[in-house]
């Protein structure tokens, strides 16, 4: 029976409208609500469903970052993961560094299937899963909308521009989740209580002896150009008139 490893990231909650700091060094993060990255929630949900369907025997969830990431891991345990590992680090971790840390976890845990969210909604990089696959020389199926596992293979339907394609991958393999893979369950209070008793191990980042130095330096962060204020039009005729004569786009 399969062991599944899922990577999760603690990010600014998707409902928060972030503000750029006035000194343009970054985005205002103090006192902002943090949550599990929505695509990672989908990843955990998928792993738990595979376990509930009898295709997997253990779901291990891992996160890399500050101590508060434990909250995110506890949420994953409440969804149904069995065991959690925090790779504790205080410095900024960019996708290549995270991929290297996860690669050392994969070497340690030897999972059959590794599931990640396709992108984190803070940096929107969409790289970590693919980088991890390349480092481990494993096949990947990104933007997955359906996963079935049987006979040592994962059959994955994935979203591509203009439609979908289906791949069959030998295990172990990497899958990254897209929005329509599943709808994560609501975490119930009994499961939150049960999660407190599940094992959560902390590893210090430096003990993994991985080069995590950032490779991209942020020079500045600014607000996007603002759109000018618009006008209300009273009816379809007025709208067409504006589009033809004012905006000159029709």
């Amino acid at each position: 029976m399969l062991k599944i490893l899922v990577a999760v990231k603690r990010v600014v909650d998707y409902n928060v409208k972030v503000r750029v700091k006035s000194d343009n060094t970054g985005v205002e993060l103090s006192n902002v609500k943090m949550s599990m990255n929505p695509f990672d929630e989908i990843a955990v949900e998928e792993a738990v469903r595979l376990k509930e369907a009898g295709s997997a025997s253990e779901v291990v969830v891992v996160s890399a970052g500050a101590t508060q990431c434990q909250e995110t891991l506890r949420t994953a345990l409440a969804i149904g993961a069995d065991r959690a590992v925090l790779i504790e680090a205080t410095e900024e971790l960019q996708p290549l560094a995270v991929a290297k840390l996860l690669a050392s976890m994969v070497e340690k845990e030897k999972p059959d299937l590794i599931i990640l969210g396709k992108q984190a909604i803070d940096d929107d990089s969409n790289q970590t899963g693919q980088m991890l696959a390349a480092l481990l020389k494993l096949p990947q199926a990104t933007f997955a909308s359906k996963i079935t596992v049987s006979h040592g293979e994962a059959t994955v339907e994935r979203e591509i521009d203009g439609g979908a394609e289906t791949l069959a991958l030998c295990l172990p393999c990497i899958v990254t989740t897209d929005l329509r893979l599943n709808e994560p369950r609501y975490v119930t209070l009994p499961n939150i209580m049960k999660a407190k008793k599940k094992p959560l191990e902390t590893i210090k980042c430096e003990d993994l002896k991985v080069d995590i130095a950032p490779r991209l330096k942020t020079i500045k962060v600014v607000e996007p150009p603002k759109r000018g204020a618009g006008v209300k039009v009273s009816n379809a005729k007025a709208l067409v008139e504006k589009l033809r004569n004012d905006a000159k786009v029709l």
Partner: protein, 314 residues
Amino acid sequence: MNILVIAEHDNEFVKPSTLHAVTAAAIVATFTHQEVHVLVAGNQCRAAADVACRIAGVTKVLYADAPQLKDGLAENVESTIVGISEQYNYVLVSATAYGKNIAPRVAARLDVAQISDAIAVSGPDTFDRPIYAGNAIATVQSLDSKKIITVRTTGFDAASASGGNATIVEVGAGPGTDSLRFIDRQVAKLERPELTDAKIVVSGGRGLGSGENYARVLEPLASKLGAAMGASRAAVDAGYVPNDYQVGQTGKIVAPQVYFAVGISGAIQHLAGMKDSKVIVAINKDPEAPIFSVADYGLEADLFDAVPQLVDEL
């Protein structure tokens, strides 16, 4: 060393997305004075390579022709790119599903960072990119000797598809892998323009109520305007249209001349996909809908009345 653009193609033609990546490469070249080369990796793809030769600003087209490259599997395209990467310190590809699938593998193999969704180039190693669903723009500087970049097509004009006269060179394909198999692909044949390329986009949201309504109300408008059709996440989740119609932070990013948002409330994640459109028109009966804050023209009306009236007026 030079700049390499990875072409997206179907073995016959080069896709328009590639032209935007070539423009980004040309801007890098204004800082580095290097040549722009294009790689066409496929199977029986000489025709696509010939098309690539005519792209303005391209000096050389490399083409790798092998059975393992037929279906664009990321693992095999990656090994082909890595095999020729010694002569390139920039590798660019459009930030489409194709490019996003392949580029990070190349970056990891070369042990360098990737810059995703570049929207501007301000130096040989400095790029702008959107973060937090485009609510902030970060200027980042790469500290690596090789830069792997995915290019947001809406950030750069398309290079001209003609006027170029590149030399063409066959290169070896990287080894194929047995660890996965391509099974099949379903891509809809569109009679309308492609969403990411269209000058006009008609997009529908949950306000339409059903797939039948989406088609009945919006298709006449899209046909009248020669527009592409898109949708909000809510409309896709409700099953009105297929997944690839979704415009948004994690769907398609579009920047047409005109974007009609019909029955779309305007969640942050939807705005991320369309707020760079030249003109935004919102039709919604809810005066408080956030979409009105980005719309140039807002029509507060019932879309079931307003859209047919709009079709009549056009």
